[in-house]
Symmetry: C3
Subunit: 500 residues, 3 copies
């Protein structure tokens, strides 16, 4: 049995949580859109062809924003293909995933559906094969009330009101040689800057995300961000980072410590932003959009070049284990710990494609293991992040060096006074006693405890057994003398709801 | 009373005046086109919807060339929008001026109208959001007789004869970060060069203007021109410069000396051209196109980003005073003094938008104060510019250092033998006696004198009082012993017509 | 009488001949397509409008591959113009050759026709005015089976089966300032790389040729290849080189040694490829595509800028002499000598435009002098090139220094055992005795000898006298003691067929 302790004090705060940190991502890839959110023939399909069973799970998941339509997909995308009468929409070769794209879902359907499930759409523009002109037209189509070429086209397509999309991504992973129309940092910086300026002229109320690095191991990591931000600083609001994690071989210890890597990545990007801010004599700060993150077993992916043309093929439908879910919960803790700079996060992706929600064509939809920590964090992790500095033991990892066994953060809901503590016990074998000092929050009396763990850490949820892994309610704990103590099971994700 | 003297001698000449130096500029901006030159419902409108009252004033103004359709506007312009049946033309968001562009006037209407008012059109191509392909298509549309895709489209649109547009601008102010699709000097140099070559392949008879600096205070001034000319020298004929002036605070003395700044700007660009010529071992010379110049109270402009979408809004409809008119007259003197290198000038703009002509929708059209020195210079300033080297007093300015009180040039009409002397007295309070030595021009006997000045230097012309400020005829002066002496009122623009 | 000797030994080989080295080139230029291969009103025209008389000559010429549609033409080409109902195809200004392009032949017709004459089409994409998007669409149109926007368009145009074009050129002569949309090496490298990657995503089975130098005298020769290959090495398979030769003044000695220049050019490009391979730690080799080569009297060409708009004008219809044919034969020997690295060659062009085949509108088609060495080399030069190292006299040239009088190579057909020796006697006045040591090829007994030469080396073939110059059968020679000796006439191209 290990022992750790944390002190919660509302005088020591990180920042308010931006709810957009709980976003997700819908790419035209595999079965995320088709037979994922959209399947006209499905028993649960609504009048527009969207699955009600999946929509219900999305609402339960709690994603205030949804990034769309890619991902790598967007770099070859012609957005005009996806609007207007469905029977006129072309089927395209999607070169990103070597798939057939029928364009039955486009910006109009997606924006409408997203609002219906309680999410704001985040739209990416194609800076792979297209540029300023296509981007400004799309902003006009989506956001201009009417009376012009593109806004009237939207109206004639049956969408009288503008979609009012407020957050836009200037392309996707443009630093990656795999990207259709990949750019050098200089090329991208220039294109992003001119595109951003034109998009803002159409709608000055929008916010813009410029592409940072596709992962921390990119050879251009850091220099890319510096070059891009020097050019675009005034024209953009956020810089993106993408990060995926997987267990390599049997090194579960390193995998459980993935959030340490995400912490480092975030802090490195913050440093670059602030370096460019200082040397460029800028006033505003650039914040971060972690707009693709998740556990992804990339080692299992054959590579785009080995895919064959198909409609909605089964691509990277990773089945997540208890371990994976604990890591997802831990990565969310990392995002919250950086709430002062990380304003947007997108769990990639929403359905089927490395996703918390799975669905079968003509069949059921269900929650993967990772659904649970995400949904609970999104629901209860609203308010102000408190500065949590755990004291306790650590362990050695091959990938990340010495890592604390406890990963934790806490969110203070100033309206209700409740505090929610999220905590992961990374030890695979031993429980962890966590002592919480609450003397600065005298009103809190009871801790409700929910934990995700399993005797079989490789257990997963499947269509046949969709609730094999769920969080379990642990006994309530009472606060005594401003302190409480709970036991975190080995290899577990935990949520403590502290209320009066 | 100050005293100055000049000597006129036909043996000392600058160069022949290129009549195109008296050009103006019609941009799709504010009310220059719509309710400016074009207003179908107006009482004076012709069959094509163009206002006859405005057209009459344009003819009187005397503009041998008119630049079109922008300005910043052109960098987002799709020229195809403005051709064909009017009912099919799209309404576009003009991002340059955040206005609605109905495209009711396009290249066909403009070229036809310009010829009707005695002007050759100068056409700019979009190098902001477009490139080689759109530019070559436009040259084909405008200038190719027929039998091809674009020329036949023009014919089917009712314009059987090619417009024969001889002078083309390779974009507009591409050095300005405000420009849609702004380019670095290197980017622009390459794009301009390839576009120029393709345009010339379509019509080898055209002349081309490459963008120089948007103003002399641009941080890239000089290096921009050098970079651009090194790349494009063989492919272009002229380099542009733009320059606007306004009175800052109550410093009228500096404002009256604006032509000194324009002189320096012109001479600096000439130096760069000739430096590139020498080091590049070129034979031909690059000449200058001052294709936007005027008095413009930019301090009053809220900035593009603060404009709201509207059709033909009232934008920068500066009302010009007597002082402004004197400065305009003085700037024309500067252009003439550099007639050896300045071959094209465009007073920006023609109607309503910082313009010599004003019009009201459904109402009258009238001449601003600045109309008068421009019209008189254009009418009488034809022939050969003589080298005029005034001797006389100077005064100190905050912006330009020590400046001569007298600004003057003279144009010799070798056919009639007449000489026209243009002279400005910059002193705000005292008249200036000007002695002219004409002994080398023995045939000249009489000087007709017209002057623009007013007891109230802030007086303007308005719809209600359109002739409040006009030039006045001064007493004739006789030449005696090859000399004459005239009195220039304080703060005045003057024209002396010396005839036999 | 000079004496030379060669030794043929199947143990010393260069490499197998890639039959694609015998390719030719069909550009939309002059009368190569229109009234060349295609002339609907012609007496011999087939149902598709293609001339059967010309097609027969193409089959006889023996061109396993045909490059299309340019050349300089392709850099302004919109491939969509050339598909679909002919009556809807636009007439375009072709800026490359200042001609009118009616688009009556496009990719569908050409690919079909090429297969009909026994040739695989090689298709070039436009990297002058277009980029990634147009290129990927064309690959989809040409090669994707169906079910997508562009492949279904092909099907609806009557071409149910994909054309399966396997070899593609990434633009044409992009190093040349004359090229529409000319690029710097850096610009082209980046564009070619991104275009190549996207094209391969559409069809991973294609091979790609990246542009090298337009000729060995380009100021960027060498640095261009290095820059381009460093960027594109992984994405491409071949690098191109183009080379044309002509007699300057009366210096026939230098002209006859043109192959020496081609040898040097090829070897220099090989060196650059292998330098980039070594320093970039690449495994694969980049091979060479000499995809434009011929004798061309460029001195007679007025320059594109002096051409006037016309449909299928008579452009560079060089009439080839005996000397020219001997040089063509010698250039083929150069390609074969580099069979280890030169995998593709395109005699430029196929019909009328500096071509081996000539045709008259409504009239006959005939073989130029150069047809003969090409056709014979293509027919008999299949198998494995043997290493041939002639011993014999040389002569001094103004352009190429000291040059061997004998130019020779040999191809061993391992199936039949036959060996074909191609040999040129560059001496204009004296015959050359050639001794061949065949002791390592004991089965060979007889040498059939065909020679091209004439008492009048300036003799040509014309419509009126189409067979004025043809190869003549020389007396057979017997192999004796593993040796034979033949007499090569002055200024002659020779083929010795050694059989059992």
């Amino acid at each position: 049995m290990h022992h750790s302790s944390v002190t919660l004090d509302p005088a020591f705060r990180v920042a308010a949580v931006d709810p957009r940190v709980y976003g997700s991502f819908v790419e035209h890839m595999g079965r995320c859109v088709y037979t994922g959110i959209y399947e006209p023939g499905h028993g649960s399909a609504d009048a527009h062809g969207f699955r009600a069973d999946v929509a219900d799970l999305v609402r339960e998941l709690g994603t205030p924003v949804l990034r769309y339509p890619g991902g790598n997909f967007v770099s070859g995308y012609t957005w005009e293909d996806g609007v207007g009468p469905r029977e006129n929409r072309p089927t395209r070769l999607d070169l990103a995933w070597r798939s057939l794209e029928t364009n039955q879902v486009g910006v109009d359907e997606f924006a409408t559906w997203a609002r219906g499930v309680g999410s704001e759409p985040i739209m990416a523009v194609n800076l792979g094969t297209r540029g300023v002109d296509a981007a400004r037209s799309l902003v006009e189509y989506a956001n201009h009330p009417g009376g012009t070429r593109w806004s009237d086209l939207r109206r004639s397509n049956g969408f009288a009101d503008p979609h009012g999309i407020k957050l836009w991504c200037l392309g996707n992973e443009m630093d990656g040689p795999w990207q259709i129309g990949h750019k050098t940092a200089d090329e991208y910086a220039r294109l992003a800057n001119e595109t951003a300026k034109a998009m803002r002229r159409v709608d000055p109320s929008i916010e813009l995300v410029v592409c940072g690095s596709s992962n921390i191991r990119m050879p251009t990591f850091g220099t890319w961000e510096e070059t891009v931000l020097r050019e675009t600083y005034d024209a953009v609001d956020y810089v993106s980072l993408h990060s995926y994690y997987e267990q390599r071989g049997d090194d579960r210890g390193s995998f459980l410590a993935s959030a340490v890597d995400l912490d480092r990545f975030i802090e490195a990007v913050v440093a670059t932003c602030d370096h460019v801010r200082a040397t460029g004599r800028h006033r505003k700060r650039i914040n971060l959009s972690v707009d693709e993150w998740n556990v992804w077993y990339q080692a299992r992916f054959p590579g785009e070049e080995n895919l064959d043309w198909a409609e909605a093929p089964r691509l990277i439908e990773d089945e997540y284990s208890v371990v994976d879910a604990v890591v997802v919960g831990s990565l969310l803790i990392s995002l919250l710990k950086h709430a002062d700079r990380v304003k947007i996060g997108c769990l990639a992706q929403l359905v089927n494609v490395i996703a918390p929600i799975r669905s079968e064509p003509g069949g059921p939809a269900w929650r993967q293991t990772s659904f649970h920590p995400f949904a609970l964090t999104s629901r209860h992790g609203r308010g102000t992040v408190l500065r949590v500095e755990p004291i306790g033991p650590s362990y050695e990892t091959a990938e990340h060096g010495e890592v604390p066994i406890l990963d934790a953060t806490a969110v203070h809901d100033e309206e209700t006074g409740a505090v929610t503590l999220f905590a992961v016990n990374r030890d695979q074998y031993e429980p962890l006693t966590l002592d919480v000092d609450l003397r600065s929050l005298p009103g809190l009396a009871t801790a409700g405890h929910v934990a995700l763990f399993d005797a079989d850490p490789e257990a997963t949820n499947t269509a046949a057994n969709p609730d094999r892994v769920t969080p379990t309610r642990q006994p309530d704990t009472k606060v005594a003398d401003g302190r409480l103590s709970v036991r975190l099971p080995p290899l577990s994700w935990n949520m403590l709801r502290l209320t009066s």
